[in-house]
Symmetry: C2
Subunit: 277 residues, 2 copies
DNA sequence: CTAATAGTGTCTATTAGACAGTATGTT
DNA sequence: AACATACTGTCTAATAGACACTATTAG
């Protein structure tokens, strides 16, 4: 390529040939998390909360019949954020869902078709809002998570099918909190989506502790017991009531509504306090 | 496009045509941060620390003669991490530098040539390690940062040139910590790099408080005074000695070396304690 | 001696952890 | 009455903030 001397940006752009670059595509994949309630059978007990993720069964190659995250190719006329939003909307029929960019996965052979880089997003929804609108090939999987300092195991179950993935982790550097993930076991997910799911779980776990992000998974009115259950199921541990209520106090507003019918003392309903200090 | 029925993944891939997708390129841009020392003239006083970023002057269109972050196109045979590493290496001649993925910027018109999506990385270096190897068109700019809840102003200065950028910020959601940035003033930087710089500053500020990330900007041996200065310049505020030393105690190891010659009490040299709790 | 940083002791305020207790609905 | 959850009081432990003090060097 001989170098021509351009005298202005306009002149340069007129001559610019994009086809000089190698073929590459970009997709947006959306990790949709939610917390669902499952009845316990005991009229006194609260319904059990489960952390869950929305997966789609692929009906085309590559990875035909494997489960994957909703995703799609980036169109040239939309930002990545818009692409993620579009994908989320076509998959759930819902707008105004909380979403944030998670990470961009760019391994060379993550897709067998061609070089495809994928930017993953994490979306959080209140499951009460959508159970109906799901497309036929989509399904919620509850996640049961076991984690130690070497690996994360996630057991997924949608009622009909269940399987587990194991992803190893290694701190990229002793000075930071970034993990390098590598798949140890994964027979049912397409692409590198096992890594994406694990990254999302880890991001959410972290953010739960220092942001108000959980409220995106709550209905408008909720009891503190329910809220605590959501925290517990994401963090994977029990919390002590008084400590939890101290922390949550300024983030919530008590309403005069109560929820009765539980075979135990009724509980006040609260709302999220958008503008707390 | 008529849909052919494939019977295996191999068959499908044989027929796959990547050229059906729109032209798009991906670049990696590397935000290289460091903290430098500037002499104060007073033999008693410690050298003043300045938070700084490495910029490169563009000598081609687009944005000819503007400053930008070191960056380059992703090659089809390398991961994005590798691309970022390669760019960092060609720009600084240094290997084994701390680096993490920051964010992927995908606005439609961020590059006038064509649709280019950029994944930004943040690298941290100990400035003592490199001042020599800089390419001619690269230069360190000290950053003076003013921040309130509406915007961030950064004044950049490399000794010859100085300019400032102003980037507004808006919380994307009251429930999280994600900001949406929009450039308010920027006359000297190419592309959307003002946004990238501000994102990096914000990421680093955050991580300083809960990780050991600063040690990547320190030489092997350092005094606690120097370390404290680095924290202070990144956080943009003074810290109290006893509190700082309490927090830093388990992250550092005291050596038997001392640093003398400062016109005041000599200070012990410390090293980073890689494996603290 | 002086200016400047190095480093420590300690008191206080705030926050987190733990446990025990009281309250109140449904069956 | 019994069970399960709702909700609060309080003691203690751990952590963070603030200030005052001593130590030590080059010039």
């Amino acid at each position: 390529m001989d170098k021509k001397e351009y005298r202005s940006e306009e002149e340069f752009l007129r001559d610019y040939d994009p086809s000089q670059f190698d073929r590459l595509a970009l997709t947006a994949d959306v990790l949709i998390f939610s917390v669902s309630s499952e009845e316990t059978g005991n009229y006194r007990k609260l319904s059990e909360k489960k952390f869950s993720v929305l997966l789609v069964k692929r009906n085309t190659y590559p990875f035909k019949d494997k489960w994957c995250l909703p995703g799609g190719f980036l169109r040239v006329d939309e930002t990545i954020d818009e692409a993620a939003k579009r994908i989320l909307e076509t998959e759930t029929n819902l707008k105004n869902i909380y979403m944030e960019q998670l990470y961009t996965f760019g391994d060379v052979n993550r897709d067998p078709r061609m070089r495809i880089v994928s930017t993953a997003y994490m979306a959080l929804v209140d499951k009460n809002r959508l159970n109906d609108h799901l497309p036929e090939n989509a399904s919620w999987f509850t996640m049961h998570i076991l984690e130690d300092d070497k690996e994360i195991q996630v057991m997924l179950d949608n009622g009909c099918e269940n399987f587990s993935i194991v992803v190893g982790k290694r701190l990229k550097s002793p000075t930071s909190d970034r993990y390098e993930y590598f798949v140890k076991k994964d027979d049912h997910l397409a692409f590198d989506h096992a890594k994406v799911i694990v990254s999302g779980i880890s991001r959410l776990k972290n953010k739960v502790e220092y942001t108000d992000i959980v409220f995106n998974m709550m209905p408008e009115y909720f009891t503190l017991g329910e809220l605590q259950q959501v925290y517990e199921v994401i963090l994977g541990k029990k919390l002590l009531d008084p400590a939890f209520r101290r922390i949550i106090a300024k983030k919530t507003v008590k309403t005069d509504k109560v929820q009765t019918g539980g075979g135990h003392r009724p509980s006040f309903l609260f709302r999220y306090n958008r503008n707390h200090d």
